[in-house]
Symmetry: D2
Subunit: 328 residues, 4 copies
Amino acid sequence: MPKTIKKVGVLTSGGDSPGMNAAIRSVVRTCAYHNIECIGIYRGYQGMIEGDFKDMGPRSVNNIVNKGGTILKSARSVEFRTPEGRKKAHENLVKAGVDALVVIGGDGSFTGGLIFNSEFGFPVMGIPGTIDNDIYGTSFTLGYDTALNTVVDCIDKIRDTASSHNRLFFVEVMGRDAGHIALNAGIGAGAEEILIPEEDLGLDRLLDSLQKSKASGKSSSIVVIAEGDKIGKNVFELKDYVEANLPEYDVRVSVLGHMQRGGSPSCFDRVLASRLGVKAVESLIEGKSNYMVGLREDKVILTPLEQAIKGKSEIDRELLRVSDIMST
Amino acid sequence: MPKTIKKVGVLTSGGDSPGMNAAIRSVVRTCAYHNIECIGIYRGYQGMIEGDFKDMGPRSVNNIVNKGGTILKSARSVEFRTPEGRKKAHENLVKAGVDALVVIGGDGSFTGGLIFNSEFGFPVMGIPGTIDNDIYGTSFTLGYDTALNTVVDCIDKIRDTASSHNRLFFVEVMGRDAGHIALNAGIGAGAEEILIPEEDLGLDRLLDSLQKSKASGKSSSIVVIAEGDKIGKNVFELKDYVEANLPEYDVRVSVLGHMQRGGSPSCFDRVLASRLGVKAVESLIEGKSNYMVGLREDKVILTPLEQAIKGKSEIDRELLRVSDIMST
Amino acid sequence: MPKTIKKVGVLTSGGDSPGMNAAIRSVVRTCAYHNIECIGIYRGYQGMIEGDFKDMGPRSVNNIVNKGGTILKSARSVEFRTPEGRKKAHENLVKAGVDALVVIGGDGSFTGGLIFNSEFGFPVMGIPGTIDNDIYGTSFTLGYDTALNTVVDCIDKIRDTASSHNRLFFVEVMGRDAGHIALNAGIGAGAEEILIPEEDLGLDRLLDSLQKSKASGKSSSIVVIAEGDKIGKNVFELKDYVEANLPEYDVRVSVLGHMQRGGSPSCFDRVLASRLGVKAVESLIEGKSNYMVGLREDKVILTPLEQAIKGKSEIDRELLRVSDIMST
Amino acid sequence: MPKTIKKVGVLTSGGDSPGMNAAIRSVVRTCAYHNIECIGIYRGYQGMIEGDFKDMGPRSVNNIVNKGGTILKSARSVEFRTPEGRKKAHENLVKAGVDALVVIGGDGSFTGGLIFNSEFGFPVMGIPGTIDNDIYGTSFTLGYDTALNTVVDCIDKIRDTASSHNRLFFVEVMGRDAGHIALNAGIGAGAEEILIPEEDLGLDRLLDSLQKSKASGKSSSIVVIAEGDKIGKNVFELKDYVEANLPEYDVRVSVLGHMQRGGSPSCFDRVLASRLGVKAVESLIEGKSNYMVGLREDKVILTPLEQAIKGKSEIDRELLRVSDIMST
């Protein structure tokens, strides 16, 4: 029989994403609803090591459901990668009476939680929070939907000036290892071509596509490029390459950068965060551990953390075809 | 063997919703991609009766993916409910060489399409376009996600003034027969209570909940109410009732109204529209008819139109519980 | 020689408006810059009576420049209208060592400040915070610019659905006694007609204008109506009147309501708040009292509070003509 | 006595800016109001040379008041810098019966108009359209207010992630020769320091300010840098310099880029565009030429084009002090 959970600790770790605050709020209020105590752990695992804790009652999370970032702050902790660091962290949790942990973050944060669990048998539950949507076991990570809206909003603005001047723009979006943002925001923003880490379209195809686009009567174009595009050139190298090969083009570059991580979460992300927080806490209460909560096929489900870490969140290849058709 | 499709007609019908233009664009470009002609039919079935058609090449839908409303306009047609009206409409389509129809709209529009098909054997494919998300066979209708963002954005603004003044607001959102918007936007906006057509929480519970909320230290509250809430009182009657029973409250009312139907579509709605448009046209090419395309369990699927019309898009009752927990 | 100011109290009073937080921040930091203490007074004059104060150092206003509402909350105080109430308030200020007051609010709040000053000789400086822009002595009140953007954003959404359906919309905006919002947002949103408290255009002109609009080939129209329009009919009565006289029209009504008061302030309002806060505090330091700071003819200026209260902020009548021309 | 104006040509030239469409609409409708014809000239002076004209009646500008970019497109024309090019342009205007010109653009565009007038005595009126606000004779250029909102909106998002991670961000905004955007958006976004072309604060002060900021307890900071900052280092060089001298800082860079030029115009820009368009056309009708219309001290005024070109739009130095105080 599982130990009764009396106090849950919650932390955010890794790159922040919109919806993390809504998830914290959900964890805190689900605890309150079930008469469990809750503490917030500041700055991720580093704050766990330093004992940077704060009691969180249901009113402590008022008016944060719509705020970007994370009120618990986030940090990367080198010390937590050492057995000593983790030991210190465990002692702090025990001292504070915490008997289960909700980790909101990405792959790296889950790996930390898994090791922590294996060493101390400490119950851990993960909530996927990252704009990259690169986590196996959920169709949507927290912040991904908001980031897509931020990106299309930016590209809509760029398109205003692109079509006023009949210009070609290369827009770099986040996604070092995953093309979800580029692919979906590219379709949403009406991009001519989309370059992603998962698929090497080849430079020939890019040139070919731009030439066809001009021939078809399009006067301006947007190409969306993930940070980690497979071609292996960064966005400025691509600009040089295209200008060298298609001298009729004067390419402008826009790197959207960190603003993709901020902003008030979309309704989708807020609802998702609320649902995942409830499931995370209630799963801990039921005695479960080492799972990630996620949304798949319209249902909130659990995936073993190990699988979530090892698995790969594949892009939907049908979208490559849709993108192709849309740029007809 | 199905007749080869050479020319597709596309129309929007019923209440407009964000993403309709993106769907029109997708239908037009998918036709072009497959070397099929496409005509736009203005003002829904009424324009079909009046022969208000326009050839649509791939460039005719430039720069509309991000625009709210519908460039083909929408209208309700009394005449199309008569056999004579439908006969005229059919003659116009035949004269124009159109041999298949894509109908973007809701239940009523699909019913029209189904009757039209039964009378003339004309291939019809439906795309669910309505902000209400009240159509069976898809987890998301076009415009629903955008409407949710519009609603939470409005309520976020209302909350600013509500919490500055420690006030209680009743916010009425769209949804005469379906509580999807109220329920999801209510959770997203952090509502205290949510009243929907599907569930009669009862007036006692509302009073009880407001009293508890005040007791728990909340200084301001938002109650989200669907147009067609089950309690059977409109938002102003509810205000009077609450003020009569809880004199400590001075209730303000906000009816969000038609703005919920407009605005630039979210990335989610744009991508969904693109995917559904491709599937609709390619299904017609494959000889299919009388289906609605939709997204369920993360996959684009077909549902017989008849089923889409008769079935009911149920709210996720788990969300009622989540809402409850969130207002702890 | 004026008494040296050592501690400033700041409060927000009356209807809240976006930019109030930015003004609070500016007052707090200007005090810190000049090595003066600052306390925040909660819930306006009521909090002054109840001694609801809080020390505010420069870090206490971190990350509020972009937040709607007011962290100091606002309230209307019946008690402050009595000599006893004001006496209590004065005693609390003296006890707390406060020797000057910055009042952020509208006419009513300034009147309170003026009476308070006349009774106790207490230095008072006003900052105009209201979305209505109805204060003499400044071309822009705090929150007005943000409210205009909120209104045009809403009407842009309404226009999407209006033009999809060829409909006529009556949109009611805030402004019981002043037509600034209606007039400017009406021009900004491309309204057909604008009804304001300052000018009785007459019902005939409205009907006439709508008929001309239809004749000129416009398929949809927006009429913007201030709460306090001079015609003396509310927006629903106007709808009935127009439908009775122009049966070809099916009028939809949208009342924008309290959301106009919320939202993240525009850059203009944030900069204005920062400038006015600096001027208010530095004017107190210079020994001035009973002034309102404002922006006129591109310059930050002082206007005697008495004049600010008595004077009327006239609409720019040239804008009526511009509106007329724009709806050609 | 001035020649009666019967047909006005309107063009947009140089970098596009939000509000240009609203200005085009205003010019077109003011012409219609006064029973004057109007033609649109595509792609600025280049389209004048190529005779790329289009008749514009009042309905041709429906639904553009809220659109970014310019429906008339913009381009830079090398040919217009030659007497032959301008001769061709003049012949086209004469052939089309155009007898006056409204030029919407910046300094360069006005210079072109002035030369054109000096050679052919052709009446020219300028409307200042550029986001940079760097034109003498107006306190606000079209698009400037919108760009400020875009910039603070982006920095608000960046701040979410900056404060979650306690990071320092350098944000580069537009403004090669003018610091208006950096200075105002910097204050609006709560920047720690603001580097502009007009003022060399010096690297020492930057380091000093960052150190003080950390010492004062600020955990994250934003520095806003105009493209053409006086220090003469670009934003990446500044990052290297700061990291070399303040090793405790890990600086992130964000270059906002072209999105600053796009987007739906703010209400302020829409109203301004409407007012300036009316004044431009009516001034031509009154026989005036070679002026720029602008808004100064709350009034629409005329400035001789020559002066507008030669004069310098100074930043408000008081804002430097306000910025300083705000970062206390």
